[in-house]
């Protein structure tokens, strides 16, 4: 196991792994935590609680680093993000409180199945640039959620928002998984906005990245006070993820919705299978 390596080699391996996880994470709208935890535990033999502690810190770095780029590009919908953060942060607290009473294996299994099921509509609609015929619902009108985003050629694309209560509930569940597992839960956040509220993929992906940092901050504080954030692990992880995320976000701004979806779907399935395996093996 890599934890017996000398510290120099170990830190270098962690840095390289984090760089890769950050790059893929930023493109897919994930925090990178779901990629980092298996790398650190299965790949490098790190205790899962410390892996979660380091990954939740890196999730803040990814979100903040990538979000800074997207906000300037006017892809992120700040009102949708802020409104839904009420749900994700409440969920994070719920997750942290019930963490001591719930069997993690059962939860891994449940979420593995939910993610696999959720991949289906994404595969069927694969290639769709923009959801068609969406009408604002009551919440979207009163919370002023509809907006527009600029295409790479500068033209503004207007979009409306539907099924807001469904999105809000899925966001609450995303918060619970974040508090429980120490991940950013970017997968569920993108699903809530893309499949639930039918937002354009690029808006879902960037708004998710923007929200992940705040959700992760709620859980990171808890892991920090529990003593599971080791600076010598968190430092190379955060630095590597930051570098990877910066490269990934440059790539995203120029990419089409179809390309993002093609990266996101295989990743979603891989994460789902990983969760199922962990649920079965314990």
């Amino acid at each position: 196991m890599a934890v017996h390596l000398s510290l120099v080699v170990f830190e270098a391996v962690v840095l390289a792994s984090a760089l890769a996880a950050g790059f893929v994470g930023a493109i897919a709208g994930l925090g990178g935590g779901v990629l980092l935890v298996p790398i650190l535990t299965i790949g490098l033999g790190v205790d899962v609680r410390f892996a979660i502690g380091a990954s939740i810190v890196s999730v803040i770095a990814t979100s903040s680093g990538a979000a800074a780029a997207y906000v300037k590009d006017h892809l992120t919908n700040l009102r949708i993000g802020m409104f839904l953060e009420v749900a994700t942060t409440s969920g994070a607290i719920t997750g942290a409180v019930i963490a001591k009473f719930v069997n993690a294996r059962v939860l891994f299994l449940i979420f593995g199945f939910i993610l696999l099921l959720s991949a289906m509509p994404l595969i069927v609609r694969l290639g769709e640039e923009l959801p068609k015929g969406i009408r604002n619902d009551w919440f979207a009108r009163h919370m002023r959620l509809a907006s527009a985003y600029p295409r790479p050629d500068g033209q503004m694309v207007e979009y409306q928002v539907t099924r807001v209560p469904l999105g809000f509930i899925v966001m609450y569940v995303a918060g619970i998984t974040s508090g429980l597992l120490g991940i950013g839960s970017g997968t569920l956040k993108v699903l809530a906005m893309d499949t639930g509220m039918r937002l354009p993929m690029k808006v879902s992906s960037t708004t998710s990245n923007f929200m992940i940092g705040v959700t992760a901050a709620a859980s990171a504080g808890i892991y920090l006070s529990r003593g599971f954030v080791t600076p010598l692990l968190a430092a190379p992880v955060a630095l590597g993820v930051l570098g990877g995320a910066t490269l990934g976000s440059r790539f995203l701004v120029g990419a089409s919705n179809t390309t993002i979806r093609k990266v996101f779907v295989p990743l979603l399935i891989a994460v789902a299978i990983e969760m199922l395996i962990r649920g079965v093996q314990g």
Binding site: S6, T76, L232
Partner: protein, 129 residues
């Protein structure tokens, strides 16, 4: 129906939020990089990597105090802890900045929404262990 901009009053709002995020993340990255270099320069590199894993629970204020005093005594691991704390503070400051900006917009609805988010966030960070 006319679509509203995704960020209030166009570029000003989003540039300030980008700035909070960029400064926080850059400062944290700088502290972490410097801390790592100092750690290896002090010969910490010869230890096995497994030596770093031992949990010692503290309240968040205790974590802040230890990072501060350790850094002042020249402990590179405390400096790394300080970098982690700066990273943790960045999203909190981003939410706080959003409150000020929604207030300036006289957008009372989203001022309240953002205040709720900040309250939940601070409660979870300081009161749940």
């Amino acid at each position: 129906m006319k679509a509203e901009p995704a960020t209030p009053r166009g570029p000003n709002f989003s540039i300030l939020i980008s700035l909070v995020l960029l400064v926080g993340v850059s400062l944290a990255a700088l502290i972490l990089a410097v801390g790592l270099v100092i750690f290896f320069a002090h010969g910490g590199a010869n230890e096995p990597a497994s030596s770093m894993f031992s949990a010692s629970p503290h309240s968040l204020l205790g974590v802040v105090r230890r990072a501060m005093s350790g850094t002042l005594q020249g402990d590179p691991q405390a400096l790394l802890g300080l970098g982690v704390l700066v990273l943790l503070a960045t999203p909190v400051l981003r939410v706080a900045a959003s409150i000020a900006l929604f207030l300036a917009e006289k957008d009372w609805l989203y001022t309240v929404v953002t205040l709720i988010v900040l309250g939940i966030l601070l409660y979870s960070i300081f009161f749940i262990h």
